[in-house]
């Protein structure tokens, strides 16, 4: 596994900034409440519960009611942050997410914790790699995958201020800081983290820093990769995709998710519609993962700086070929 950046840099479990920001917002705004499914520890909301017990609801192990009751709280004027393991929050309450959030437009902020392969050796039941495909198809639902602590905080603040349902897909694996303090998450705007003209890498979540590392390594080989943080899945920055297609002619998508229907799928749809270029999707290739930790599985599926580097190099080679 690539160590060059992480060894040099301090890393953060984004759940800490998540919990701290939620508490801070709750202190300022009486409407903010938290709903959990027996997940106080894993969501790090023990502090929230201590400070705001009357705005903390633990519905027990019951995800349908968790999402339904959150919708009711929202319709009653609260701003519920509904927090649970992403795998259960989405799959177990899929219809509540569609109907009570997407269709009825209740102002609920779904916080899918420990998404992607975070639960590693707990196995495929606990991996949440379908959640992007599942939520992306639901109208009115914003889908956001922050990449670092700064963006996590900003996305939470944006979610509070934006009247409408949001799915925040959060992670647990420590990541370095990528953004300066004043970085603001803006929906539908995908910031360029590093420019380049040979291909564009769209990544989100915990894989953004690995994509950046890959770009550094590619640079050493004379390949200039543009790296874009695609934290905003819905709405998607169409323009950034089309610019990438026009200006770099090849695209690599990198996500801790299935390669079907998620970020990769979204990018392929836009590109194929308006400016066809070659797109390679990295992620989990349509299988249930074997036993292993998150780090092991990321490596197993090639989702390391080296893996991204080599996929990118291949793609550029293909493109340069006749």
């Amino acid at each position: 596994m690539s160590e060059s950046m992480s060894s040099a840099t301090e890393t953060f479990d984004c759940r800490d900034i998540f919990a701290a920001t939620l508490e801070e917002m709750a202190a300022e705004d009486q409407r903010i409440c938290a709903v959990v499914n027996d997940s106080v520890g894993s969501t790090k909301l023990g502090g929230f519960r201590r400070r705001f017990p009357e705005r903390f609801v633990n519905v027990g192990i019951a995800e349908q009611n968790m999402v339904g009751a959150s919708a009711g709280l929202a319709s009653g004027g609260m701003i519920p942050f509904c927090c649970g393991a992403s795998c259960f929050l989405t799959a177990r309450a899929m219809e509540q997410v569609k109907v009570d959030l997407g269709y009825a437009q209740n102002n609920v902020k779904l916080c899918g914790m420990s998404s992607g392969l975070a639960y590693g050796e707990l196995g495929p039941t606990h991996h949440s790699i379908e959640d992007l495909a599942w939520t992306r198809v639901i109208p009115n639902l914003s889908v956001v995958v922050p990449a670092d602590p700064v963006e996590t905080r900003s996305a939470l603040q944006w979610a509070r201020d934006n009247d409408g349902p949001v799915f925040l897909r959060l992670s647990r694996m420590p990541v370095p800081r990528l953004f300066p303090d004043d970085h603001r998450f803006i929906p539908g705007q995908a910031p360029v983290l590093r420019d380049g003209g040979d291909l564009t890498i769209f990544a989100n979540g915990v894989l953004v820093f690995r994509a950046l590392e890959a770009a550094v390594r590619l640079g050493r080989r004379g390949i200039l990769a543009r790296v874009i943080n695609m934290s905003s899945i819905t709405p998607l920055d169409r323009e950034a995709v089309l610019r990438a297609a026009r200006e770099t002619g090849a695209i690599l998508t990198v996500e801790e998710a299935s390669i079907y229907g998620g970020l990769g799928g979204a990018v392929c749809e836009i590109v194929a519609e308006e400016h066809p270029v070659r797109v390679r999707r990295m992620g989990v290739p349509g299988v249930f993962a074997p036993t292993g930790s998150e780090a092991f599985l990321l490596e197993h599926f090639g989702l390391t700086a080296e893996g991204i580097e080599s996929a990118a190099a291949d793609l550029v080679r293909q493109r340069r070929a006749p």
Binding site: E54, R55, G68, A69, G72, L73, S75, G76, V99, A104
Partner: protein
């Protein structure tokens, strides 16, 4: 007029907290029986009020059936079992401002059995939320009156329902919101009896009991029939009251077609401090039209022209 309410033995009348109610007509009198406290309450609901509601419910049934006939889809059986409950709520119990449907302190009502939208829409029109003529657009292209209620389009609708088992979780959240905001509104939710086969209801039931939501009232339209057959034959839900009691709720049973009982019990609901209330309303599916009553076919049968005419004539001529 005397009304009987059956309650669990362990609670005595002095525990009861009376909520303010539009028609504040209850005077509790406790009578002990072997297994129950039978509470006799004298209703001060005037004959006049009861007559008004009876007429309104008749109009709601007639319109709902016309709407289903017009749309060529719908659920008249469940519309008719719920009609009296809806009318009692909207014209006798709920604190609402039809001219200001989003008045923050309004009581909330969620029609969890959203397939009975025709009865709901007709009741909302009756209560003054929109004009009666809108009912004529039921399920027409681009109408605000979709086959299942849409809160973003229809004044007075609180929740987008249709898939069964959404209402009680939603209502639980609304009741939690009222508590968090220290607001006085109550939340009522009406489910079917077949609908309670959905596990989501029992998740919410446990949660509401844990949080002691005594601002939440579940009404079960216990008409004994679901989509394809009698509930008993598909998945039995009796003993209904025992289930809710074992889940920590206060339970009362009423005749869901008797306005005296409905007003008295709904008006004084929630029944006990510290517990959510479940009111098992015993009803008849298709109630009000002889050939529709208690017949599973009428769950979603669309009346022929002749059936419509016969039904309307029966309703028109009805005494009760």
């Amino acid at each position: 007029m005397l009304i009987c309410i059956f309650m669990q033995k362990q609670f005595v009348e002095s525990d009861l907290r009376w909520f303010p109610c539009k028609n504040n007509f209850h005077r509790p009198l406790a009578v002990q029986s072997r297994n129950w406290v039978v509470t006799m309450r004298e209703t001060t609901a005037t004959e006049d009020l009861l007559r008004r509601l009876t007429l309104a419910a008749r109009r709601v049934r007639m319109r709902a059936l016309q709407m289903v006939h017009h749309a060529r889809i719908g659920h008249p059986g469940g519309d008719f079992s719920a009609a009296d409950i809806l009318v009692a709520l909207y014209l006798g119990v709920l604190r609402l401002r039809p001219s200001d449907p989003s008045w923050p302190d309004r009581d909330r009502f969620v029609l969890s059995k959203g397939h009975c939208s025709a009865a709901l829409y007709a009741t909302l029109a009756e209560a003054g939320f929109f004009e009666e003529k809108v009912l004529g657009t039921f399920m027409d292209p681009l109408s605000i009156l979709n086959g299942h209620p849409d809160r973003k389009k229809v004044p007075g609708v609180e929740a987008n329902t249709g898939p069964l088992g959404h209402g009680l979780p939603l209502a639980t959240g609304m009741a939690l919101a009222a508590r968090m905001k220290k607001a006085a509104w109550r939340t009522f939710v009406l489910t079917g009896d077949g609908e309670l086969q959905e596990g989501s209801n029992w998740e919410a039931g446990l949660c509401a009991a844990q949080y002691g939501l005594d601002n939440l009232v579940l009404i079960v339209d216990r008409n004994g029939i679901q989509q394809g057959d009698f509930v008993e034959k598909i998945i039995r839900m009796d003993p209904m009251a025992d289930k809710w009691r074992s889940f920590g709720w206060q339970v009362a049973e009423v005749n869901g077609h008797d306005f005296g009982e409905l007003l008295c019990v709904l008006g004084s609901s929630p029944l006990l401090p510290g517990k959510p209330t479940c009111i098992v309303a015993n009803t008849v599916k298709g109630r009000g039209v002889s050939f529709m009553e208690n017949n599973p076919k009428w769950h979603h049968h669309v009346p022929t022209d002749k059936e419509l005419a016969l039904a309307l004539a029966e309703l028109e001529g009805a005494e009760r």
